[in-house]
């Protein structure tokens, strides 16, 4: 089902906004994790843990789901389709995987924030956790940059499904032409 141009642009606007927002929120998360990593102040480290949990719960997770859903809608509503081109298919796989990994990491982040709120954190543990958050956020940024690059470059290559689909459409058009002539 191909969407009307206005609807397609609306879906695309939502997708670009949520995707860029996701990237920005992860960048903010990374900044907090980096500052928390280098800070010697335990109070600051606790504050950063709490802030990171808030950003994750209220910004990163909703934007990740919004990006995934709007991406699926945008793909299905255009001739690109969701499974016709490798770059779209890979974007889908990366987005789904990144969202799943994010959800897996949400629980430890919440637990860390809960621990921080209770004032139980120790310096060495904070350092180790912050280091891992820096690594995770950096990996997420690389994944999101890859998604952006795929969207911009749209490297060529049609999947077997796309090729079959294309052949079927060509055949049906040829039959219709033959019938009308």
């Amino acid at each position: 089902m191909i969407m009307a141009p206005g609807l397609r642009k609306l879906a695309l606007t939502a997708h670009v906004t949520s995707s860029i927002g996701w990237f920005g929120a992860v960048a903010a998360f990374l900044a907090l994790a980096l500052v928390g990593l280098t800070s010697q102040d335990a109070q600051l480290a606790r504050a950063f843990s709490l802030a990171m949990e808030l950003i994750t719960r209220f910004v990163i997770v909703p934007l990740a789901f919004a990006s995934l859903l709007t991406g699926i809608v945008s793909s299905l509503g255009t001739k690109w389709g969701l499974f016709r081109y490798y770059w779209v298919l890979l974007k889908l796989l990366i987005t789904v995987l990144a969202t799943l990994i994010l959800l897996v990491h949400t629980q430890p982040i919440e637990r860390l924030a809960d621990t921080a709120a209770k004032g139980w954190l120790l310096g060495a543990d904070v350092y180790q956790d912050q280091l891992q958050m820096v690594v995770a956020a950096t990996a997420a940024l690389v994944a999101l940059l890859t998604l952006t690059a795929l969207s911009v470059y749209k490297p060529r290559g049609m999947t077997p499904y796309g090729q079959r689909n294309q052949q079927e459409q060509s055949t049906s058009v040829a039959v219709e032409d033959a019938l009308t002539n």
């Binding site: 695309l12 016709r84 637990r111 621990t115 956790d129």
Partner: protein
């Protein structure tokens, strides 16, 4: 996920793979998938060896913290 079609609509014939390579997977996809799988395996390995996020890392902090209360 996909913006306005530039090549599905614009010049379909030009973008259609050549007959001989119609079913071939492009090289960039192969490289991409190999790198992707390697990174996923690295990620899983890091977690299984206890270098990733995990309850065990945080529980030790909690337990030590509780001990200090």
């Amino acid at each position: 996920m996909a913006d306005s079609p530039s090549y599905p609509d614009a010049d379909h014939a030009r973008m259609t793979p050549k007959r001989g390579s119609a079913t071939r997977v492009p090289r960039w996809v192969k490289v991409f998938v190999i790198v992707f799988i390697a990174l996923v395996l690295l990620f899983v390995a890091l977690h299984l060896t206890g270098n990733g996020f995990g309850a065990h890392m945080h529980m030790s902090a909690i337990e030590q913290g509780v001990g200090q209360q």
